[in-house]
Symmetry: C2
Subunit: 378 residues, 2 copies
């Protein structure tokens, strides 16, 4: 049974300048903390979230069954990131839809709901917003910043934007930028949302509708790319949902295979809670992240700014953020003579593996944090 | 400059029984032939098409620039499949939208356009329809049946349904069935079409509209899976379409990257000419194909019926129909002591490679057909 987590919010009146040139003011960030900040204030760990996750990283909500945070298997008392030793912070990113200011909130400049007018936010913007939250929490330097997937991009960006504000960075199942194929999948998902007649140019809130068709398609595409071909074959294979006399129903629109049923269910569930404008914003932040871009494409030059020690983890069957992409980061860090540990976990689950209970993976992270714990004040 | 091709149609009054239990009558097949049937009638080659192709396999249409058939680089006078020696037949499949009877035609039983009521067709049904066409053309036995991707599935099925009606089968970039991931991509594409409000349950013709949004999404997904990650990175990488001062425009809805522009263009083009019901039917035929299914999942037992000699070709970076899937077919044929040649072409282009001008690929097919030519009467 997990501990009880309590979400909090922090309001920021001062405008935050964004990479696009726009800015956002009077915003709030939803966050949670687990464990205790020690007297030396040197045991804080910031956890950055991926596309559809939130500040609810670990623990569960009082009175809500199955409300465990998305990394509850990793973080908690006695777990790999032990909240008996570390003060862990989860923050919902700007533009998300789980409590921090996002497209469904009111723009203070116009008094209207932002909708599609919510400014484009980048990984760098999120890191700046998180840094302000740490300022307010009185944390000058993190023991570690960590994240998986898009969260790993934020952890990496932290080491470049605020090189002195963390001692360690843990970057899991991530990449130094998206490939053309990654961008392509994001773009198809966005087109499905934007061309849904219920999207209304991103101002669907005014119309009392939600572009659920588009969100469903976006999620189905996402799900395919989170899983490996192997695990899909193992979990679903060519199994039929309702075999008629042991055979096909012969229908183009009804569910025939189990995998179809699974994807439809995932799409339906997602479209009930996720905001369409947030989906656009977060996939765009993924597309844009590319620290090497300002350095003539040289990741090694980009990472020269980093001072942290690193743990990188990748998963063998992850074709969305393949091990080769993590190795690019490792290589660029080594070229800068940075200290880096790297674990490539042989796991069948594709990109999703970073959220799952692989004992070797959890042990690698545990061992790394055990060493970090030795550096913090008791 | 290619030769001039002339499409023809053949009408079939008699009902064709289908795998689903339904049947279709008073249908027509569009087809083309190239070269001359020899006196012994033993030099015919049937070419089966994939998802969005047609009977227009080679040559071009008089007065139409850039109207070359989809395998014009492979088939023609002096080409790998030499129409100076072989009589080549291309047939548009039932349910397609290029001249053979399909969902946009009138159901003779109701006097209404079929639309979504067009019967579900399978690879086996297509093969039966093609066999009737060969009957009418007076061709008892083919020198070879050949096809790529879904066309390769038809070629394989020919050898099981009519083992004595061909001497050779050439199966390119194909598979003995779809994986769960393949089905998943097909299902997302179908959901995009079916949930487009302009689909009207498949009877959009009556409403004078076309579910273009869904077709665009379907095609974009398809295109991603036809290409390899590598070739996408090489062709598009992270190149920007219109860099503003050398940087991002910061937009979630406008085209930012070249890959987005390419996919949108492909989607738009496709939605202008392809029928939505045909897309559902053909992807379902792909899903359903699984000759091992009736043999307890044993491909070797399924292929025991085959008598043809085989050439199989796969491409190293094809992740839609990976080389391992072709090797399954090779293995099952070898277990049956069938004669089989197999070429795995190291090509960067993914599944699309089967349509491209890879010299080694074209040479392999040429060598194989040179040998077939020795068996036919002059």
């Amino acid at each position: 049974m997990s501990f009880i987590a309590t979400p909090q919010t922090m309001h920021f009146a001062e405008a935050l300048p964004l990479a696009s040139g726009a800015s956002i003011r009077d915003y709030q960030l939803a966050y949670e903390t687990y464990g205790e900040l020690n007297a030396a204030r040197d045991n804080a760990v910031l956890v950055c979230h991926a596309l559809n996750a939130s500040h609810h990283v670990a623990g569960r909500y009082a009175g809500q069954e199955r409300s465990e945070g998305w990394w509850d298997n990793m973080i908690g008392p006695g777990k790999s990131v032990d909240t008996n030793r570390f003060f862990v912070i989860g923050v919902n990113n700007l533009g998300s839809c789980f409590g921090s200011t996002g497209p469904m909130h009111t723009n203070p400049d116009t008094g209207e709901v932002y909708g599609a007018d919510f400014p484009v936010v980048t990984v760098e913007d999120w890191v700046n917003a998180q840094a302000r939250l740490l300022d307010r929490l009185g944390i000058a330097q993190l023991a570690a910043v960590m994240g998986g997937s898009l969260g790993g991009m934020q952890a990496l960006s932290w080491t470049l934007q605020y090189p002195e504000r963390m001692r360690h960075a843990v970057v899991v199942a991530s990449a130094p930028n998206l490939t053309a194929e990654n961008i392509a999948f994001n773009e198809v998902a966005r087109r499905a949302i934007v061309t849904d007649p219920d999207f209304h140019g991103g101002h669907f809130y005014r119309h009392g509708v939600v572009p659920k068709r588009g969100l469903r398609i976006a999620r189905m595409i996402g799900h395919i790319t989170y899983l490996s071909d192997d695990v899909m074959n193992e979990k679903f294979g060519r199994e039929l949902r309702n075999a008629v006399n042991g055979g096909y129903q012969y229908s183009t629109q009804d569910v025939e295979f189990q995998i179809e049923s699974y994807l439809r269910y995932q799409g339906d569930k997602f479209s009930d809670y996720f905001d369409a404008n947030t989906y656009l914003l977060i996939t765009r932040a993924l597309d844009y992240f590319d620290p090497a871009r300002a350095h003539g494409g040289s990741l090694a030059r980009a990472l020269a700014a980093a001072r942290a020690r690193f743990l990188l983890v990748s998963f063998s069957t992850d074709w969305r953020f393949a091990p080769a992409r993590s190795r690019e980061i490792v290589q660029a860090l080594l070229e800068n003579r940075r200290r880096v540990a790297y674990a490539e976990i042989d796991a069948p689950h594709g990109h999703d593996a970073f959220l799952l209970d692989d004992p070797r993976y959890l042990a690698v992270v545990r061992a790394y944090f055990d060493n970090i714990a030795k550096e913090v004040q008791p």
